[in-house]
Symmetry: C2
Subunit: 81 residues, 2 copies
């Protein structure tokens, strides 16, 4: 059964690049990757913050946050993080 | 033929975690992943800097640098970057 990975982004150029290159490069036999656009789903900002996400793009793998380069601070997305 | 991906690190805790979780999660059918410890191979710091790497751990995928969290600045590794 695949592990869970969630890629949080906000549609920024840095985010799109990281999604297309890095998030898509994960082994889908090992990881079930969910893509979450926090600008479109602001209700999930709190979930990202709880996982330790400080900025986007970020990939949360089995609960561990990996910030990939820097697109925008989570606090700038209106989540109060 | 797999694309090239190079994971640069310096043996730090953040680096080891990113290597074990993220670098190993890449689809090996798509990416040939090389792991480079810049503390042990300082001669490759210039190569990392040329690819745009500013800190480790970082993954360079087809020439594009992705900084993953923050372990150490490349300039602190003695490469003059």
């Amino acid at each position: 059964m695949p592990h869970k990975a969630t890629f949080y982004h906000a549609g920024c150029a840095v985010c799109v690049d990281a999604e297309q290159r890095l998030a898509r490069a994960l082994d889908r036999a090992e990881y079930a990757v969910e893509i979450v656009h926090l600008g479109e789903q602001p209700g999930r900002i709190a979930e990202a913050a709880a996982a330790g996400v400080k900025s986007v793009p970020a990939l949360v793998m089995e609960g561990n946050p990996y910030h990939i380069n820097f697109g925008a601070a989570l606090s700038d997305l209106g989540g109060g993080a």
